[in-house]
């Protein structure tokens, strides 16, 4: 057990945790925008998959990581439009449409992968960048300042998203539409427009989450690359109480425990691997059970808005 407490192990765990948290941060904060406006988008995982594919395909063929990122953003935006059309304009049940979107993304990304790439390949994606001076700080520098741009971006997104949601008119509109769309509507806010914006922004971030896997953290694409990460991101939104900072703590907790259990296995600490694998989930459920009553979900979550009703 002493080995797990050594400095190098702790550095390793925290470094891994930050890296692992990256896709959850993008996808989770994206979902927070969507849900704050009253739309549950369960299609996050599907959006991540198809954007991950798009980014990978573009980088494989052009070698340009920025074009790859742009492709992921564009595809995420298109998926957001689709989700908006189905759940906002056509007022379909949000949960079901999200699941549909997930399956669409899963199937289409596998199909395109098979027809255009065919076999597992690797690309050179976003590389780790040492931030001058800061990365020289012992321990802290190693943990925090030696990551790829997309990892830094994920953590910068936390204050940025907080600022948009809490300090701008747009943030206020998003939240008012999510809390009481009828009241917002009576004050002249275009409910559908705000929801379209939020869902599309959320989907773009889910798209970047996908790209962070395929062209930054893993640098490859395979069928069902995300393995359900999008759903964990949705869970983290509830965990974080619809607040970017809460989502960040949730993502870091989940990822740190995951990194911790991997290190325990590597160091040969005698606990059954099944228990180790369960740890992140157990801890997240426990934390969720403790925190669940503190926050309330957006009141109009999951409810299509019909003008003139109520």
């Amino acid at each position: 057990m002493n080995e797990i407490l050594s400095v190098s192990t702790i550095v390793g765990i925290l470094y891994s945790a930050i890296r692992l948290a990256t896709p959850y941060l993008y996808a989770g904060i994206g979902e927070a925008f969507s849900q704050s406006s009253g739309v549950v988008n369960l299609g996050v995982d599907g959006i991540m998959l198809i954007s991950a594919y798009a980014a990978f395909f573009v980088v494989l063929n052009t070698g340009n990581i920025w074009l790859g990122l742009a492709a992921a953003i564009f595809v995420g935006f298109l998926m957001g439009l689709l989700m908006s059309l189905i759940s906002i304009t056509l007022k379909a049940e949000q949960g079901i449409s999200g699941i549909g979107l997930f399956m669409f993304g899963l199937g289409l990304s596998s199909l395109l992968f098979k027809t255009t790439i065919g076999t597992v390949k690797t690309v050179t994606g976003f590389q780790a960048i040492k931030i001058p001076l800061l990365s020289d700080i012992p321990i802290f520098g190693e943990i925090f300042f030696n990551h790829s741009l997309l990892v830094y971006g994920a953590f910068l997104l936390v204050p940025a998203a907080w600022w948009v949601l809490e300090k701008t008119t747009w943030g206020l509109k998003i939240k008012s539409v999510g809390q009481n769309p009828a009241a917002a509507d009576s004050l002249g806010v275009n409910v559908d427009q705000v929801r379209y914006f939020s869902v599309c922004l959320g989907s773009i971030l889910a798209g970047i989450a996908g790209a962070s896997l395929s062209i930054s953290l893993l640098n490859l694409f395979q069928d069902n690359l995300t393995a359900g990460q999008g759903f964990i991101a949705v869970a983290l939104v509830y965990f974080g109480g619809w607040k970017p900072i809460g989502i960040m703590w949730g993502a870091l907790l989940f990822s740190a425990v995951n990194a911790f259990q991997l290190w325990m296995q590597v160091l040969g600490i005698k606990i059954p691997s099944d228990i180790a694998i369960m740890l992140p989930y157990l801890l997240t459920i426990a934390a969720l059970a403790v925190t669940v009553n503190r926050v309330r979900s957006p009141a109009a979550l999951n409810k299509p808005f019909e003008r003139g009703e109520n």
Partner: protein, 329 residues
Amino acid sequence: MKSKLFVLFLLLTILVSACAPAATEAPAAKLRVALIMPSAITDMAFSQSMYSALVAVQKEMGGEAAMEIKYSENMFKVPDAAAAIRDYASQGFDIVVAHGSQYGASVEEVAKDFPKVTFAWGTDVNTFGLPNVYAYTAAAEQGGYINGVMAAMLTKTKTIGVTGPVEVGDAKTYIDGFVQGVASVNADIKVSKTWTGSFSDVALMTEAAKTHIAAGADVLTGSSQSVVGSIGAAKENGTVLWFGTQSDQATLASNLVVASQVYDWSGMIKDIVSKRKAGTLGGEKYVLELKNDGLKISFNSGYPLTAEAKAAAEKAIADIKSGAIKVNP
């Protein structure tokens, strides 16, 4: 309304019963083989090994005119796979290969209903006592041992990382063999094992590999379709070596993959086909071994393997074939 439905039902029944005999009596001009597998035919691992074997046999038999291959990929969910197995059997396929140890119960159930169809499933050794079921498995521990011998000779840090998926089946036996192989060369080498609990979670597999590397490992191995993540981590590091299993993984990192244990199911498939022609539909089990050429060690020509390590590997192969070395699964 009810009577209308009844008439419709009656018509359908007549239609179906009229069609059914015609379908079964149609001459079987070509052999029809169906494959159900948990991941994709391009997974660089388990599913690909079986698909490649079928394609190789098809080629040998004279192409698509002689043998038809239909497959269903990504059938990780057993109920979906069970439905596919039944579908293929009822469509009149001659041989249905259910390529996954999780499909056993489904095969047992469906095989009873289609006594004229040959079923093959694995990796397992249980034919359920049914005359139309073959079971197959791979003695993955044998190639694991060979890879272990070479790994032990190549590690400089005396630390080797194993990235496993779930502690079952050939994933476990491969790794057990690997550990024995390492120990046969140098018992002081530390072999760390991680399990991600998933055959498909590439992200966690990548992180597991990076953790091994951070802890000092300079040689890695592992199994399942998610090891593409481990190989990616080795490639990103640039000097960490990789030993593959199930399929030849050299193309993923041409200068870091030392060797791969390759499952070659084609001999078994050919045997099943010729037995079926002779009237035997099943009832036996197959074990891929080094001895019967079902398992092969594919050395990667892109990696400059030392003569010493290669000689040790070849000696171990010969010893396992002759029985001088026994590897415990």
